[in-house]
């Protein structure tokens, strides 16, 4: 039964993603959507460049792929960081990534409009992570507690800087900053999707090292006894997962909740073994984000911020699973 569940979660992004391509504000005959997609894969005939074709291939498809990638990155990052910090409340933004990215975005919109927002958001999210690490290191050992605390400090610092920028800029720019911070896939295109693929080099090592998360999450002493260089590996895990979260945040803004919730949902379904938990969190996160985004862009005439949908839909599901499982799944 569990294997079926695992298989379903694993392949879910394909079905959810394909399904999402049939929904949107512009009514397109499902047959035509199918024809456009099949023709794109096996090139049966030369389809004219119509609005329908442009919507399916240039608007919906990159949006679905981008939301899947971002969902996977945030969930994957969340599951790794929860294991490394041995804390179920940790999310991908624990080390100040969101605040750093927000600052990068703010100063770009406010004062450096010639610079791409995504690059600055990415750079500052990495600056935030490294700052948190350096602050944690000043006390000697880089412990989990010192990292969490330095993350809080860095977040507070960058949040204050964002507030200063928001105070200084004119109302028009202020509005742009606020939109960006809300997080959205509304401007998804192929270029953003290609940029998002920069996260793949971080996914592969995490995938190969995922079994080590089981050991690290047992505690430092046990991990050391089993021959793991805890400090070194913890840093590698933190950097790789932060890199994923930074990529995701720099492309589509701050989308909260998913990186915290999806690892728990998957853990409740398949158990705490990170060999399964990590890849299944990636695919479940992808499916969840595609579904949430599709819902956010189709339920009303206007787009509802996707973060609201992830929270509203995820919370009841979370409660349901918690009641159903009725057991402690937070340990390997």
């Amino acid at each position: 039964m569990k294997d079926i569940k695992k298989a379903l979660i694993l392949i879910s992004p394909i079905f959810v993603g394909l399904g999402a391509l049939f929904f949107g504000a512009y009514s397109i005959d499902p047959h035509l959507v199918g024809k456009i997609l099949i023709n794109e894969i096996i090139h049966l005939s030369d389809l004219k460049d119509t609005p329908e074709k442009a919507i399916v291939l240039d608007i919906r498809l990159p949006r679905v792929l981008l939301s899947a990638t971002v969902g996977a990155y945030l969930s994957g990052s969340g599951v790794v960081l929860q294991a490394v910090f041995r804390n179920p409340l940790v999310d991908p933004f624990i080390l100040g990534i969101s605040a750093g990215a927000a600052f990068g975005c703010s100063i770009t919109i406010g004062f450096l409009s010639f610079f791409p927002i995504q690059i600055m958001a990415f750079l500052f999210s990495l600056v935030a992570v490294f700052s948190a690490y350096i602050i944690a290191k000043t006390g000697g050992d880089v412990s989990r507690l010192s990292l969490v605390l330095s993350g809080v400090v860095v977040s507070a610092f960058f949040t204050a800087l964002v507030s200063i920028v928001k105070f200084l800029v004119d109302p028009h720019k202020l509005q742009s900053i606020v939109y960006w911070l809300m997080g959205s896939f509304s401007l998804s295109n192929w270029r953003y999707f290609k940029i998002s693929l920069l996260g793949l080099p971080a996914i592969f090592p995490l995938f190969l090292m995922r079994w080590r998360l089981n050991i690290i999450s047992m505690g430092d002493e046990e991990a050391k006894a089993l021959g793991i260089d805890v400090k070194k590996e913890r840093i590698i895990f933190i950097l790789l997962s932060s890199f994923l979260a930074a990529i995701a945040t720099s492309i589509c803004g701050i989308i909260g909740w998913i990186g915290l919730m999806v690892p728990h949902l998957v853990r409740m379904i398949v158990g705490p073994d990170h060999r399964d938990l990590f890849p299944l969190s990636l695919t479940f996160g992808a499916s969840f984000m595609i579904a949430a985004d599709t819902f956010s862009r189709t339920i009303t005439r206007f787009d509802i911020p996707v973060g609201i949908i992830t929270a509203l839909s995820g919370a009841p599901f979370f409660v349901y699973l918690m009641r159903k499982t009725k057991r402690e799944v937070w340990s390997a």
């Binding site: 009514s27 442009a54 608007i59 409009s113 004119d170 509304s186 206007f302 787009d303």
Partner: protein, 336 residues
């Protein structure tokens, strides 16, 4: 008896004088205070004419109503984005007002230091308004969402600053331009679909607010008007579905028509195909300049109907009449 009669007459005469004095004082008292109902629906009793006002928003009414000497503070936005304010302040340094923070984050200490007898701000930051009121300050919150409401704001400010006639003249000048537009677009049979994009290319002005009214006034149809909100984020495919003939971009947006033309996702939209995407001037809509924004939009939407109208000439005449400064002079101080 005679003495008694005389006393009664005397008392009566004195009472009449006292009554007259009382009525006069009463009249003076009534004339010097005014009850204003603001956007929150709150009634505020103001002693008029106001002598020390802080104007957080609607600062373009300072030159329009010529109330420079009755204003002690403005939002920093006046100096950041308002070309008219900047032009005046550049010409006469003594006109520069104290800045009381940005529109949404007010420097309350600075406001208190100025000891204003009235603060005009927008209806956004209720916490700040409450705080200021708790300190005994009078606050009028505004948020005009229609031309009528904008006129009400201008009239209200005319009354509280003792500039009623000037306010009426400003409204009259605005009406002249609106009237011209209404007259010209009256006969248009095939109305164009017009949308207004905001801070990002998927944020549209919807069915509530001045922009929607202006689109209707210029003879356009706002497809986003069916959404009963001020603004909304929509998907690009929703915009393709609406297929507007003309797209206007908010003047302060961080992108321009080139960005829209260069984005292949927009290529099937009529406005893009026919190169009818225009970035608006970076002017406030809570200002007499709203009428000029409308004229600009009308001219771009129906170029044939307004082909004989020289926008800059009309704008210059309007600026001179309303603000007392040349349009071309102000242009030097506008952000482009």
């Amino acid at each position: 008896m005679g003495i008694l009669q005389r006393r009664w007459k005397d008392i009566f005469r004195r009472s009449k004088i006292q009554l007259l004095v009382f009525l006069l004082i009463g009249k003076i008292c009534l004339a010097s205070s005014l009850v204003v109902k603001d956007k929150r629906g709150k009634k505020i009793k103001v002693s008029v004419p106001v002598r020390r006002a802080v104007i957080v928003i609607s600062y373009e009414l300072i030159p329009a109503l010529n109330i420079w000497d009755q204003v002690v503070g403005v939002s920093s936005w006046a100096n950041d984005v308002c070309g008219i304010y900047r032009a005046f302040v550049h010409m006469r340094r003594d006109l520069k007002k104290e800045e009381v923070g940005a529109g949404i984050s007010l420097n309350i200490e600075q406001i208190l230091k100025l000891n204003p007898d009235l603060i005009i701000t927008w209806d956004y930051n209720r916490e700040s308004i409450r705080f200021l009121e708790e300190k005994g300050l009078k606050v009028i919150a505004i948020y005009p969402e229609s031309i009528k409401e904008l006129y009400d704001v201008i009239r209200m400010q005319g009354k509280i600053f003792g500039k009623e006639k000037r306010a009426e003249r400003v409204i009259g000048e605005m009406e002249k331009i609106f009237g011209l537009i209404r007259k010209r677009v009256k006969g248009i049979r095939k109305r164009k679909k017009v949308i207004h994009l905001g801070g990002k290319p998927t944020r549209v002005s919807c069915g509530i607010g001045l922009t929607d009214e202006i689109i209707r006034l210029i003879g356009g149809i706002n497809p986003a008007g069916v959404i009963k909100k001020r603004y909304a984020d929509v998907s690009i495919e929703r915009i393709i579905k609406w297929n507007p003939d003309v797209i206007f971009i908010w003047g302060a947006a961080g992108y321009d028509e080139k960005w829209i033309y260069g984005n292949s996702q927009f290529r099937f939209i009529n406005a893009v195909k026919k190169r009818r995407v225009f970035k608006l001037p970076e002017w406030s809509t809570w200002s007499p300049r709203l009428s000029l924004i409308a004229l600009y939009m009308a001219k771009k939407t129906y170029p044939d109907v307004f082909s004989d109208i020289d926008f800059e000439k009309v704008a210059d005449r309007f600026y001179r009449s309303v603000f007392g400064i040349s349009f071309f002079e102000v242009e030097k101080y506008e952000r482009h």
